[in-house]
């Protein structure tokens, strides 16, 4: 089969709206998706950064969805419309959180980064000062 340039452009114009519509459709199921905080702050370089994130999402209809930390599944929900969940995580690098449907298609995603602040200068005293026996 041989298409002229014009035919090719017409073909693309015919199919393009359908492709983008199906993608938009999938995204539009999720009205809102957020992962907070967006930054995990650690004082120690090259050590995992631990924190508790709050994941919120809201869909237009009840859906099955799973939250992934890159390729690792963290949490799955069945037939839910609105979620607010606290999850303990440990990050070694900047990471992307993805909300997937049960066909492994991405509903929404959010990046979380690690920040290393200057080493702390003070610590809480762990024993009573001058404790005599």
């Amino acid at each position: 089969m041989h298409f002229s340039r014009l035919q090719l452009i017409i073909l693309v114009l015919i199919f393009l709206p359908n492709i983008s519509f199906s993608q938009q459709n999938k995204h539009e199921i999720i009205q809102q998706f957020s992962v907070k905080p967006l930054i995990c702050i650690t004082t120690k370089k090259n050590e995992p950064c631990k924190m508790t994130i709050t994941v919120n999402w809201q869909a237009t209809q009840p859906i099955n969805a799973c939250l992934f930390q890159e390729n690792k599944s963290l949490f799955c929900w069945k037939k839910q419309k609105k979620i607010s969940e606290k999850i303990n995580i440990e990050l070694s690098n900047d990471i992307r959180f993805k909300l997937l449907n049960d066909k492994a298609q991405v509903y929404a995603q959010q990046n979380v980064v690690i920040n290393t602040v200057a080493p702390r200068s003070f610590r809480r005293r762990l024993r009573a000062e001058w404790s005599l026996f």
């Binding site: 907070k36 967006l38 602040v117 003070f122 610590r123 809480r124 001058w130 404790s131 026996f133």
Partner: protein
């Protein structure tokens, strides 16, 4: 910006609760005080010059006779492994009675006493304890600490535990002064009580009332007052009373039902 809980927001400057990391701190208290010895014939400990040494690294810490390693730390909780000298042998280091007079209920309907020569009583060794320490900081001015320790040099082959809640207050009419109230508990296992406060010689008495070692709890109250005088000097008052549990005071070796610490002095920080 929301921060994770691994930010140590509570310690941003040096004060009574916060200590600089990787700096040795040495100070000396000069004053007068006493640590009482609850044993029959035990001498009290005069407290005149008390050295204080501390070092806090990123994880390691040293506070006088306590060496620790903190392996988990968040804003309000620390978990450490520690080792420290057990205090019980200290009382026996200043114990010089010539003999112990023990009540003897021999069944003759007549109470009498039996004397045990002091050289018949085995000497007590110093124990080195090691175990877990938890520190919880519910607020800037409150601190709860817990320790569960076991002797590591096979002396009494048992456990002891400690729980204390400290609450500090600033006194408005005395600038920069600080009052710390402490309520605590010391728990000692049966093995500890048996090693330090029981003795084979007691079994010869073979009476209904003969001492049986059991686990013991001593509650205590402590009041500390600190007042800076200038950059290097500060005044210090410390008063503590530990109420000895009945499983300890029943020991024929123990005379008092409490241990007191009182100290009034000036602290110089080098």
């Amino acid at each position: 910006m929301l921060l994770s809980s691994s930010v140590f927001a509570n310690c941003i400057k040096e004060d009574d609760d916060c200590i600089p990391i990787e700096q040795w701190q040495f100070s000396v208290a000069l004053g007068a005080g006493v640590l009482s010895n609850p044993l029959h014939g035990g001498d009290n400990f005069p407290l005149l010059v008390i050295p204080y040494l501390s070092y806090y690294g990123e994880n390691l810490f040293l506070e006088n006779n306590v060496l620790g390693y903190t392996f988990e730390e968040s804003n309000d909780l620390s978990v450490s492994l520690i080792t420290q000298l057990n205090r019980e042998a200290a009382f026996f280091s200043k114990w010089q009675p010539s003999q112990l007079l023990l009540p003897n209920y021999s069944g003759s309907f007549e109470d009498s006493t039996t004397a045990i020569e002091i050289d018949q009583i085995k000497s007590r060794r110093w124990a080195i304890d090691a175990g877990l320490q938890l520190n919880w900081f519910p607020s800037k001015n409150s601190h709860v600490e817990m320790q569960l320790l076991h002797d590591i040099n096979n002396v009494y082959q048992g456990f002891n535990a400690h729980w204390a809640a400290h609450q500090s207050f600033t006194l408005n009419h005395i600038s920069n002064s600080r009052l710390i109230l402490t309520l605590g508990l010391n728990w000692q296992s049966k093995a500890l009580i048996n090693y330090y406060y029981n003795d084979e010689s007691f079994s010869r008495l073979a009476t209904e009332d003969s001492f049986q070692a059991k686990a013991n709890i001593n509650p205590y109250l402590k009041v500390d007052f600190n007042m800076p005088i200038n950059k290097d000097w500060r005044a210090k008052i410390s008063i503590k009373r530990e109420f000895l549990g009945s499983n300890l005071t029943k020991s024929p070796l123990v005379k008092d039902n409490h241990i007191d610490v009182a100290y009034l002095g000036l602290v110089y920080a080098f």
